[in-house]
Amino acid sequence: MIFLKAFVVGGMFCVIAQLLMDLTSYRITPAHVLVGFVTAGAVLSGLGLYQPLVNWAGAGATVPLTGFGHLLAQGAINGVQQKGILGAFSGGLAAAAAGLSAAVVFGYLAALAFKPKG
């Protein structure tokens, strides 16, 4: 059941982005989509609305980039709970560190190892 929920919710996030790209007159690039989704995820998380979706849909809510925003926001909140105001600066990146480091390391290695086509 969790697999079906993950599929549907993950798919729906992408549908929202596709509709934004296809049906609005603004020129929305993938960069705008990713920035918008990370910001929206952080805001929804701060309002307490995103964690219930994670509980319900699992990876359907954590794999889309809104989940990255959620991770950053919850990290900042946990940071404040543990260290006070300094935690607002340290908590977000600490929570996202594994995914971020993986992206930098694997991204760098892939860019070195492969040659672009065409």
């Binding site: 596709q18 989509v33 954590t62 980039l65 909140i77 607002a88 492969f114």
Partner: protein, 157 residues
């Protein structure tokens, strides 16, 4: 078909021409784009769920299992981007290949590969963050602001 007569004033002929163009160009394929975005985005999330369950099976707590799953997805995406496969998927999947964390990894590797000739520092090093840079700026500032608001008002627990 709309008839375009030579005797009509220029403005009207332009309008008629636009009508003709509208008839001839293919209809926007929003429906098909949305369908593939849903399917591919859903499948990537499904794969993420499978990985999460796999890592949770080793006794990892859920957030750790999620982080491990993200790392694997990022690795797969970087690898497939290097092979040129991810961009082929993105051609028909659109947002389905952009929104998942694999799309974030793709947005790092693709320009870094492209600009490798500009050197390791200003080519690969800098271009890795062409899109990831803005994402991190907006993500970090928003999360920081939420942390400050939480500090001030104890909101959003």
């Amino acid at each position: 078909m709309v008839e375009v007569k030579d005797s009509q004033p220029m403005e009207i002929r332009k309008r008629e021409y636009q009508k003709l163009v509208q008839q001839v160009i293919p209809r926007p394929t929003v429906g098909r784009n949305v369908f593939w975005a849903f399917v591919v985005g859903g499948l990537i999330s499904l794969l993420g769920q499978g990985l999460m369950n796999f890592f949770a099976g080793f006794g990892l707590p859920l957030t750790e299992a999620g982080a491990a799953a993200s790392a694997v997805l990022v690795f797969l995406s970087a690898f497939l981007t290097g092979l040129g496969v991810y961009d082929e998927i993105a051609k028909f999947a659109g947002a389905g290949a952009i929104v998942p964390i694999t799309g974030f990894a793709n947005s790092m590797v693709a320009p870094a590969m492209e600009y490798r000739a500009e050197g390791l520092v200003l080519g690969v090093g800098a271009r890795l963050f062409t899109v990831a840079g803005p994402v991190l700026v907006f993500g970090i500032v928003t999360a920081w602001a939420i942390g400050i608001l939480y500090y001030l008002f104890r909101l959003g627990g």
